[in-house]
């Protein structure tokens, strides 16, 4: 293989497609290599699309992207075994185009996104695994694939190969992912007729609802659950830190089965037919887990660089944005006639620091550590809240003052006053 490219992008997920599209649009000769049968065939996400990040790459994406429903209502539920306490926010403002968030199905969306990249001039090959990076000293000069005649050269390689990034690990750019920095999420897609979904969630055609869940749904582990409405299906899933799964010896599907049986969730999916089951690793180590993301002839984007904001359930937008920024960095250097050296590629890190990506990760940098060491946020508090609500709501002849006293007592019995104050303080500091 004598052909040489300006850039090779490894992976055709959100980061890879954003990078390939931006590079091709910018006139660079780009080859994209995907391991799966088609772009998206191996990619797993909830999935919610945040318009803003994609708009910056393809402003008119709404014309032909496969979108399921735009979201008009956000529910946040805290669950114990039999109840949920929640806040629902629904606004007609979310019903005015251009819509801010959509549910998508990645298998469809990624094919569209990749088609856009190819139409812009990128060359994509699938069912090809990059086995390692070709290096000349410390400089990355290309990739070796598992196909015959499989060495391909390029001036730069963008690693957008997902959470595990075997390539970055093999090349020594980053370590193996730490089980405490990664969530294992499982999800199912359940088919339901469109009319049933719209009736159950009180929504019109194309309108969608998101339910984010925390509490006993994670069985004492650090994690959350979710339920999204698609056009003709419901996606629901749960994810917890891998280290917690290891410790608690609970299997992810047990957790998901328990979630589906919860009296607040079961009626929403009743009568549905399970279409798909998927599992995925989500890097949630946050700010401190982000490795070095550039060097001589290489850049890391998306999950491979641990760019996930676990607190706000954002990942795909960070992936797209990092892919785009990596591409823009290369385009700019190429235009200036500068080589893709480590010193020059430091501009990528500067762009990241200047964007919402690193700013948000930095803001929540303490969050993972706090949640790891304070499991009461996932166990004790949901139950206390539920009990308090029930005490207040149930009319049973007990006077309100006594009820309030009981609630206070229940909180103090579970967490000392100092504990309660400490938790509040920790939470406050974490979001600062």
């Amino acid at each position: 293989m004598a052909e040489k490219f300006d850039v090779i992008v490894v992976g055709a997920g959100m980061a890879g497609n954003a990078a390939a599209y931006t590079l091709a649009k910018g006139g660079l000769k780009v080859l994209q290599i995907e391991r799966g049968e088609t772009p998206g065939s191996k990619n797993v996400q909830g999935a919610i699309l945040y318009s803003d990040a994609l708009e910056k790459i393809i402003p008119d994406f709404r014309d032909d992207a496969p979108l399921e429903r735009h979201l008009i209502e956000q529910r946040v539920w805290v669950l114990d075994d039999t109840s949920y306490m929640g806040s629902h926010y629904r606004s007609e403002d979310f019903n005015k185009p251009p819509y801010n968030r959509y549910t998508i199905i990645r298998a469809h969306f990624d094919q569209w996104f990749n088609r856009k990249a190819r139409e812009a001039g990128a060359l994509t090959i699938c069912e090809t695994t990059v086995s390692e990076l070709l290096q000349d000293g410390s400089r990355v000069v290309g990739v070796r694939t598992d196909r015959k005649g499989g060495e391909i050269y390029a001036d730069a390689v963008i690693l957008a190969d997902g959470a595990n990034s075997r390539l970055a690990v093999k090349a020594g750019f980053r370590g193996e992912i730490d089980p405490k920095d990664v969530a294992l999420a499982v999800k199912e897609i359940h088919f339901l007729p469109q009319e049933t979904i719209e009736a159950r969630f009180n929504i019109g055609e194309d309108e969608g609802v998101v339910i984010e869940m925390a509490g006993k749904i994670s069985a004492g582990m650090m994690g959350t659950g979710f339920l999204y409405t698609n056009k003709e299906s419901i996606t629901l899933g749960v994810g917890c830190m891998l280290s917690d799964f290891k410790e608690q010896k609970v299997t992810p599907y047990e957790l998901l089965d328990r979630m589906k049986a919860h009296p607040s969730i079961a009626p929403l999916i009743a009568g549905s037919e399970m279409k798909e089951y998927a599992a995925h690793l989500i890097p949630e180590g946050g700010y401190h887990a982000v490795p070095k993301v550039f060097g001589d002839g290489w850049l890391i984007a998306g999950d491979a660089g641990q760019f996930v904001n676990g607190i706000h359930r954002e990942g795909s937008n960070l992936a797209m944005t990092t892919g785009m920024l990596a591409a823009q960095t290369l385009i700019e250097l190429k235009a200036a006639g500068k080589p893709f050296s480590a010193a020059n590629l430091a501009a990528y890190k500067a762009r990241l620091d200047d964007s919402f990506v690193m700013k948000d990760l930095k803001k929540y940098r303490r969050m993972p550590e706090i949640f790891h060491h304070n499991k009461q946020f996932f166990t004790t508090y949901p139950e206390l809240l539920s009990r308090a609500a029930q005490t207040l709501i149930r009319v049973d002849g007990v006077d309100k003052k006594t009820k309030e006293k009981d609630i206070k007592k229940s909180f103090l019995a579970s967490r000392s006053l100092l504990g309660l104050l400490g938790d509040a303080l920790k939470f406050w500091r974490a979001v600062q």
Binding site: M1, A107, K148, G149, F191, P193
Partner: protein, 281 residues
């Protein structure tokens, strides 16, 4: 050596769902693949190319999205691909399809003589196994169906010797080329294409032939007009309501176990008991 391989893009039947209410097949969102049986035909053609050199042309009739299936075949090493696509073909049954494909192959033969035509045994969506034989008949080619092995090909004598799986055995058949072969499944294993093939497939300027380009003037022979087959009803077979009963052997005295099981069978099938009793007497 020029082989033409006819392929079809089909919905992955392993992933097809039936609408729970209307009982209709839901194709939406079901991945489209190259009919798996056709891949055995393609691989066999590629093996002949490995041995004798030459060209492998892949042909498919279908909607524009079938382009992906043809590109896939190119990535395995096929040299050329032609998509025969026209609204006029919509609604074609096997009769009309074999007409359109034979016309297409005749056009191909105008440029380069064809030694062999390959098809899969059948498709996984229609399951008729009629299009291959239909093409052979229309082109007046010898027809070899359910071929499990190409034993020999003598290009000078224009003769081919194949093994054909038949009921109760294997036939060894010799015939003259050009001929049409429908390849049996499991007879070879599709190769993992070179990087060069992948690049070529991705960049290949796919030829799309409409009705006129395929040399078809007789509109009444294609599409709905040329298709006498009428699908009057589609329904999902009722799943069996009876479940297998599992008898725990520990609950029964082993001496009586056989009798117990027989009694259970006979309660389900009283006629069977009568019949056996009759024969015994």
């Amino acid at each position: 050596m020029h082989s033409v391989v006819c392929i079809k893009q089909v919905p992955d039947s392993a992933q097809i769902r039936v609408h729970p209410v209307t009982n209709t097949i839901m194709r939406q969102g079901v991945p489209a693949i190259v009919n798996p049986y056709d891949l055995f035909a393609l691989e066999e053609a590629l093996r002949l190319k490995d041995r004798f050199g030459g060209t492998v042309t892949v042909v498919s009739m279908g909607p524009p999205m079938a382009e992906a299936a043809l590109r896939k075949c190119l990535s395995f090493g096929a040299d050329d691909a032609i998509l025969v696509s026209d609204r006029a073909f919509a609604g074609s049954d096997t009769l009309a399809t074999s007409y359109a494909l034979s016309a297409t192959i005749r056009k191909i033969m105008d440029n380069m003589p064809v030694d062999l035509i390959f098809t899969g045994k059948q498709t996984i969506d229609g399951d008729t196994a009629q299009v291959g034989p239909g093409i052979a008949k229309r082109l007046d080619f010898q027809l070899l169906t359910y071929v499990s092995k190409i034993v020999d090909l003598d290009r000078d004598k224009r003769e081919i010797l194949v093994e054909r799986r038949a009921e109760g055995g294997v036939q060894l058949l010799r015939t003259s080329t050009p001929c049409l072969i429908t390849m049996l499944e499991g007879t070879n294993e599709m190769r993992f294409g070179d990087l060069d093939d992948l690049f070529r497939a991705a960049r290949y300027d796919l030829k799309v032939w409409d009705r006129a380009a395929a040399g078809i003037d007789a509109v009444e022979m294609i599409g709905l007009k040329g298709s006498p087959t009428v699908v009057s009803k589609v329904f999902a077979p009722k799943p069996r309501s009876q479940r297998a009963e599992i008898v725990d052997t520990q609950d029964h005295d082993p001496k009586n176990l056989a009798a117990t099981l027989l009694a259970k069978v006979f309660t389900q099938h009283p006629k069977l008991e009568q019949e056996i009793a009759k024969r015994a007497s």
